[in-house]
């Protein structure tokens, strides 16, 4: 049914969120022939499109003291395993990326107090985003300067020749045609892995399969969900009003210095204090006003009435694996991975900008924009020196067969069923949040079985299901990476909590986890953090780590 189309370019960018768009724009500005491919619709899909809270900025007019204060705050909250070089780069370059996005027409808006800049979580400064976010403006910019955009093509594999990445292969969701991209340099910007949206961890999976090293995927980002019977617009209101109570009506204490809830809800649930409610009854008129203004900044999108009072039941959360914590290991600040010709940016690039805890949401977009721009330059420089890629035709035939096999199989396992099973193994709080070696191993046993026995036998009835099959394959790989990293780090830190190791272990675990394919098995090791970035080990433990874990 499928014909093969070959696309030649200097730089191929896979994934059109803010990271991919910046990468494509930067490479194009250098006069190269750039193709930007997305399984969905560039600028309108996935994390970038949903990021409508805020964008982190650091104003260059502030003095070095202010920068140091921010760096210290990240180290303290990220529990010393952020990479301070990346943190500084993201902070310093965030302002220029913000200005650039604004000039492209991104939907920045004023905060509830009328100012352009908000300080919800001092010492960080953010700019609020309206309902359109930054994605559509990024797409327009890329189109304007002549990036060739190809939407609705799912990339399934990277192409390699002599140890170098020379492009990628995938299929069109509309025609089913096979697309072969031949590129002198390739940027992976495919986002994160999460269980609630359709970010399916394709970047980590593609990088891992190509032999790249993945880092720090034990850390999570949780986002508690409310009763799905209610309008989703209340999520916007919840960002500015975070009062929760437990089943007995006792207020839930969570870290007031963070806009993002840590694992405190999960810890309460583990104590048997569920259900947890969002407590609208205690909202003051000022709180209600703030919520309304927050929702109004979403283009007047007011499906939910913050004045309604009551207690709204919370369900445990969607969790995701963000870039600012882990992803493909980068060997330089131009976002090169260890594989020549392959660059990574955004949520699938392992910058570890925030370390073990995601302190304020604006870091996601800012570090994606900053790494995207850097990867675009890095890839353009590489492409300028690279030869025309040579593709191994035999490998192509094998890859093509692999892509379409689920359509021809006609029997086996349905992809939705497989996803449901993975969800039921992974989403209970006692697996992803309150971890224990025994439970992680149990989950891993199932996931390994699914990977070996079920994944190769999934079948698809149409192109939509073929997409599901390939996405789920990647989710399974991401889940295995998450479980193995979680098992490997035998301590607790940030959003990685091990009930069987409830304390931070310094200096042993002042280190990053790293993982790579080793003849079909995942090999893990530890990358020690340079001593110059360690906390002062002579200070008391409680001072070094103000946040307490249960049982520590």
């Amino acid at each position: 049914m499928s014909t093969t189309k070959t696309v030649n370019c200097d730089v191929l960018v896979i994934g059109g969120g803010v990271a991919g768009c910046f990468a494509a724009v930067r490479a194009r500005e250098r006069g190269l022939n750039v193709v930007l491919v997305d399984k969905s619709y560039v600028g309108y899909s996935y994390a970038t499109r949903f990021a409508t809270l805020n964008f982190l900025v650091f104003n260059p007019n502030e003095d070095e003291g202010a920068l140091n204060t921010c760096l210290k705050a990240v180290a303290l909250r990220g529990e010393y395993i952020n990479d301070p070089e990346w943190t500084e780069i993201v902070l310093r370059e965030s302002w220029d990326r913000y200005q650039e996005l604004a000039s492209w027409g991104a939907d920045f808006c004023r905060s509830e107090n009328g100012s352009m800049f908000a300080r919800d979580v001092p010492p960080f400064t953010t700019v609020r985003l309206g309902l359109k976010g930054v994605g559509p403006a990024c797409r327009e910019r890329a189109e304007t300067i002549g990036v060739k955009i190809l939407d609705r093509i799912m990339i399934t594999d990277l192409l390699k020749s002599g140890g170098e990445v020379i492009g990628a292969i995938g299929f069109s969701l509309d025609t089913g045609d096979c697309y072969v991209f031949r590129a002198k340099a390739t940027v992976l910007a495919t986002g994160l892995c999460s269980f609630y949206m359709r970010n399916t961890g394709n970047g980590d999976a593609l990088a891992y399969k190509a032999g790249a090293t993945i880092t720090s995927r034990e850390f999570i980002f949780v986002w508690p969900w409310h009763d799905p019977n209610l309008d989703m617009s209340l999520a916007a209101a919840r960002c500015v009003y975070m009062k929760f109570i437990d089943a007995e009506g006792l207020p839930v204490k969570h870290d007031p210095r963070s806009e993002i809830i840590d694992l405190s809800l999960e810890f309460l649930v583990h104590e048997g204090r569920a259900p947890i409610y969002w407590d609208l009854d205690s909202a003051t008129p000022e709180d209600v006003e703030r919520m309304k203004k927050r929702m109004l900044s979403h283009d007047g999108y007011m499906g939910f009435d913050p004045n309604r009072g009551g207690k709204i039941r919370m369900f445990g959360g969607a969790w995701m694996l963000l870039n600012s914590m882990g992803g493909a290991w980068l060997i330089n600040k131009k976002c090169a991975t260890e594989i020549p010709g392959l660059y990574a940016a955004g949520d699938c690039a392992g910058t570890r900008t925030v370390g073990a805890f995601h302190i304020v949401s604006g870091f996601g977009l800012a570090s994606a924009a900053v790494t995207g721009a850097r990867a675009g330059i890095g890839a353009a420089e590489y492409a300028a020196k690279a030869d025309k890629p040579d593709i191994d035709e035999e490998e192509l035939i094998n890859l093509k067969e692999g892509i379409y096999a689920p359509l021809k199989r006609g029997k086996g396992f349905e992809p939705r069923w497989v996803l449901e099973i993975i969800n039921s193994i992974m989403t209970p709080y006692y697996i992803y949040a309150v971890k224990h070696g025994d439970r992680l191993k149990a989950a891993l046993t199932f996931i390994e079985f699914i990977k070996d026995h079920i994944v190769p036998r999934m079948y698809a009835k149409d192109l939509h299901e073929l997409l599901l099959v390939h996405e789920i394959k990647n989710i399974v790989l991401n889940v295995e990476i998450f479980l193995r990293c979680s098992l490997f780090r035998t301590e607790s830190r940030g959003t990685h909590y091990r009930e069987d190791y409830p304390r931070r272990s310094d200096p042993e675990w002042l280190a990053w986890t790293k993982l790579r394919d080793d003849g079909g098995r995942m090999k893990l090791w530890r990358e020690p953090i340079p001593k110059k970035w360690w906390p002062d080990l002579s200070t008391a433990y409680e001072e070094r780590y103000p946040r307490r874990f249960p049982g520590e």
Binding site: S40, Y41, Y44, S45, Y46, R49, F50, L131, D151, R152, L173, Y196, M197, R198, V222, P224, W225, D227, P228, N229, L230, D231, M232, E266, V269, A274, P275, Y301, G303, F315, G316, G317, A318, W319, R416, L419, E420, N423, S424, T427, P428, Y429, Y432, A433, H464, L467, L468, E471
Partner: protein, 78 residues
């Protein structure tokens, strides 16, 4: 990939422009070949992000944030 919402399309308003088909991040919507109007073809994969509704130029898409599943999707706790 978790069906959270049920949405439907008002075929008197829909012009079949295809915006929602392109934009839906879950690849849920198609244009019906006979009626030339949008249909929610894979509703079980809709995760309720509302982008189709936000971007439809005709305001033709309605959403009920009610789950059409018997149970809410597997989440962290209940």
């Amino acid at each position: 990939m978790i069906g959270l919402c049920s949405n439907w399309i008002n075929h008197n308003l829909c012009t079949g422009c295809g915006t929602c088909v392109k934009i839906c991040p879950a690849d849920v919507i198609r244009i019906d070949e006979n009626t030339k109007r949008a249909i929610i073809k894979y509703s079980e994969d809709c995760f309720g992000c509302q982008l189709c509704k936000v971007h439809c130029p005709q305001g033709a898409i309605q959403m009920t944030p009610k789950r059409h599943m018997m149970y809410p999707p597997p989440l962290g706790w209940r």
